[in-house]
């Protein structure tokens, strides 16, 4: 990462775009306390993710690339595992688990082992697991990668519903996804944020009609 500075508003859906190796996943790892930056800091509610990492862990959740679930636990047990990992009490765990099973239409699969779920439902479970502790910030690292069109549309609906309730940081390779879902988009290249604005403004700035062309122009020519 190199001199990355940005502000993300409460409840905003912010997309991070970039080619492979641009630094999107590293940014998420730093925000979620998995990687310590050599220098610099990030703040949530004015609290540092570096020096007050316990607070950061209690308010940031991550749904990693691929579906990071416990394969041999059931859907319900996966949610419970995450809830207990966040120090939640038994009654809250039961309440929150039931709520998320219903919200993500996972109720009929609750006793199925995670490894038996389809790709789309695994992603649903992965996002539900990230929401179990009612985080203020959720990082979705390429949540729809490899999904079919219908599963992707379902997941987009779920992500849209999060807008305004949770701050969402979304990394994706799909331009359409970023354009349709995000309030603002940050474009990264070689660890630097080279552009940050709404999809419409980025198209205007680059003089392109569609967002994919705008992204290519930004990455190739560095138009700001």
């Amino acid at each position: 990462m190199n001199d990355l500075t940005l502000d993300i508003e409460d409840g905003e859906l912010f997309a991070l775009l970039g080619v492979n190796g641009a630094g999107k996943s590293t940014t998420i790892k730093m925000l979620s306390t998995l990687t310590k930056p050599d220098s610099g800091d990030a703040f949530i509610d004015s609290k540092s993710v570096v020096t007050e990492s316990d607070y950061a862990k209690s308010v940031i959740s991550v749904s990693p690339q691929e579906s990071a679930v416990a394969e041999n636990l059931t859907v319900k047990e996966n949610l419970e595992l995450m809830a207990y990992a966040h120090n939640m009490t038994k009654s809250t765990v039961d309440e929150k688990t039931a709520e998320l099973l219903e919200k993500f239409s996972l109720e009929k699969y609750k006793d199925k082992r995670a490894k038996t779920l389809s790709g789309g439902y695994r992603r649903r479970l992965s996002i539900a697991m990230a929401l179990i502790n009612s985080p203020k910030v959720i990082c979705l690292d390429e949540p729809t990668l490899g999904l079919d069109v219908l599963s992707r549309a379902d997941l987009w609906e779920i992500i849209r519903e999060l807008k305004g309730k949770v701050t969402v940081i979304l990394t994706t390779h799909y331009m359409e996804e970023a354009e349709k879902l995000s309030d603002r988009i940050g474009v990264m290249k070689d660890g630097k944020l080279i552009a940050c604005d709404t999809a419409e403004n980025l198209k205007l700035k680059t003089g392109k009609d569609n967002f994919e062309d705008a992204f290519i122009a930004l990455v190739k020519e560095g138009v700001k």
């Binding site: 979620s32 940031i60 749904s63 990693p64 679930v69 394969e71 595992l81 207990y84 990992a85």
Partner: protein, 242 residues
């Protein structure tokens, strides 16, 4: 609660893997059966059931290291563990989570081994219970070894180191298959420095309720258990920080 739920997941990952059942429970039974069959045709004092059973029980525990190391190693490379690292779970939760569920599995493994030995003619006695109880530190040694290897090796390397090297060391240097004094020299000295032969002797002494003879072997095994456990915890914590 954090480590208990994580333990549940570790327990399920191991018991739902058919290889754990085949190697953990099936393999010792097959070995006991075959060696007892040899003993019935060509009597060898070493393969008498009360001498053989503690040896097979200790040898079987080396598979616990393999299961434990494989799980920790695979988890290390997985996004699932990274996800758990972003929660409020502490290193101690992971360490207990990985080790505690393996203790009942190791006890079950020893119990099955002794139970099958009873079928093959081992006399039912309190010695069986003492043998299993006194071999628990040995089980802890193997479990800690699994945590240690899983923390530093890739899952492929774990297969080689734990699946091949450790199981062979546990077999050849344990005094189960042949008398160490028959080889003598550096081989016998090396075997006596390592814990395997002491673990087998501990199990044999406990089985005949000879606690005075068991004590030096117990101290040897306990020392190895403590040293390896401390090293495993330190290495795991260091790796987790990285």
């Amino acid at each position: 609660m954090r480590f208990l739920y994580f333990s549940k997941r570790v327990f399920k990952e191991i018991v739902l893997d058919p290889l754990s059942i085949i190697f953990g429970l099936g393999f010792p039974i097959v070995l006991l059966f075959l060696l007892s069959a040899i003993q019935s045709n060509i009597p060898v004092s070493m393969f008498e059931i009360d001498s053989l059973t503690p040896g097979i029980a200790v040898f079987s525990l080396s598979f616990i290291t393999l299961f434990s190391a494989l799980l920790v190693s695979k988890d290390r490379g997985s996004l699932f563990l990274q996800r758990l690292f972003t929660t409020e779970m502490k290193p101690v939760d992971f360490i207990f989570g990985y080790t505690l569920p393996l203790i009942p599995l190791a006890i079950l493994q020893m119990f099955v081994c002794f139970a099958f030995a009873v079928v093959l003619g081992l006399k039912i006695s309190l010695g069986i219970l003492f043998s299993i109880l006194l071999l628990i530190p040995c089980a802890m040694f193997y479990i800690s070894l699994g945590l240690l290897f899983g923390s530093i090796l890739s899952d492929k390397a774990v297969g080689g180191i734990c699946g091949a090297l450790l199981t062979n060391l546990s077999a050849w240097l344990s005094g189960t298959w042949f008398d160490m004094s028959l080889v003598g020299g550096w081989f016998e000295k090396l075997a006596n420095v390592l814990p395997f032969v002491h673990a087998v002797e501990l199990g044999r002494c406990a089985l005949r309720c000879d606690f005075a003879s068991a004590l030096p072997h117990l101290l040897w095994v306990l020392s190895y258990m403590l040293v390896i456990t401390v090293i495993a915890i330190a290495v795991f914590k260091r790796k987790m920080k990285q």
